[in-house]
């Protein structure tokens, strides 16, 4: 399946992870879900993802640091942030550094699906 598009989900909350997994799948893409920033970096080094959905509040490596680390070796993969803590400083910093947008929890599923689809189609159209 050459035209499979991969979306990486990074969230320390297992249920939120599963929720995004199902949403990505329903959106027509192939989800991979990990529970930490470190695991996300490992995934990104081996798989070419079309989108990363990144939680901002995580123990150990938080969302902002994970985002910065991703950008050190991958300048192009689109990153969408998620947060339950409002548009705080770390969100704003990540947005100013090129993260596309932030989804605030809880969120509207239909709108989120549309957002994910728009980004994947626009940023990495089918080859």
């Amino acid at each position: 399946m050459a035209d499979k598009r991969y979306v990486l989900i990074v969230d320390d909350n297992e249920d939120v992870r599963q929720l995004f997994y199902d949403i990505v799948e329903l959106s027509g893409f192939t989800p991979r879900a990990v529970g930490s920033g470190v695991a996300a970096l490992q995934q990104l080094k081996t798989t070419p993802f079309d989108l990363v959905i990144l939680d901002m509040r995580m123990p150990d490596l938080n969302g902002l640091d994970t985002f910065k680390a991703i950008r050190q070796f991958n300048s192009s993969v689109p990153v969408v942030l998620t947060t339950g803590f409002g548009m705080d400083k770390s969100v704003q910093e990540a947005l100013s550094m090129g993260a596309l947008l932030c989804i605030e929890k809880p969120f509207n599923v239909a709108r989120t699906m549309k957002t994910i689809q728009d980004i994947v189609e626009k940023e990495s159209p089918k080859k």
Binding site: N13, V16, D22, G84, P106, F107
Partner: protein, 215 residues
């Protein structure tokens, strides 16, 4: 104000103790007395006093021993020391080691009254400050908990919305109604937590984080 409602007067001259007690009681303070440092400390062990007025020169345990006990065991209690004109240096020493004020003997009652009132104002202010600090702690904790609630809330709401999508036209009406209710309830829970969030931030004089409001 239960915590600061009482004054303890410690003086080996019983007449002195009694007259201070009568005078302060007359203007509304609740006063206990002790005839020396040892009984004073015994009283401090069994009850909380906002203010202790103690003579410095006493047999057995003197005023400095009482002060030492208070510093080590009753951090919120203020101390006023009483001492004779002949020993001003000891008053200075007492202030240096943490007494709030000193009164030189012989004294006019007005002097004691002023000193006690000043100490009382300070105690009140400190209590208010403590209350404000605790309130701020509660508000901060509430904000964090509210934010943390957004994750489980997104789980219930999100999966319910997914179920809504999967339930087609021909699905059981009862199931549809039940799922719709979960979605609606999640939305109102979110509205409530957001409202509470604004309230707590207001309390802390913090402006709200800008929100995109996905709901």
């Amino acid at each position: 104000m239960a915590e600061m409602s009482k004054i303890l007067v410690i003086d080996d001259e019983k007449r002195m103790c009694d007259s201070i007690k009568v005078l302060l009681s007359n203007i509304g303070y609740e006063v206990d007395t002790a005839e020396n440092g040892r009984t004073g400390i015994e009283r401090l062990k069994s009850e909380h006093y906002g203010l202790v007025i103690t003579d410095l020169m006493m047999p057995e345990l003197d005023g400095f021993a009482v002060m030492k006990y208070i510093k080590e065991n009753c951090s919120n209690t203020l101390i006023i020391v009483i001492t004779g004109y002949a020993s001003v240096e000891s008053a200075v020493r007492a202030i240096r080691s943490g007494a709030y004020d000193y009164i030189l003997k012989p004294f006019d009652f007005e002097i004691i009254k002023i000193s006690v009132e000043r100490a009382w104002d300070k105690l009140k202010l400190e209590q208010e400050l403590e209350k404000t600090r605790k309130l701020a702690q509660v508000a901060e904790r509430a904000i964090t908990l509210n934010n943390e609630l957004n994750s489980p809330l997104s789980v219930t709401s999100g999966f319910a919305q997914l179920l809504q999508m999967r339930l087609g036209e021909n699905s059981d009406e009862t199931v549809k109604r039940q799922v719709n209710a979960i979605v609606k309830a999640s939305e109102s829970m979110h509205q409530m937590t957001s409202q509470f969030q604004r309230f707590a931030r207001n309390l802390l004089n913090e402006s709200p984080e800008p929100s995109l409001g996905m709901f």
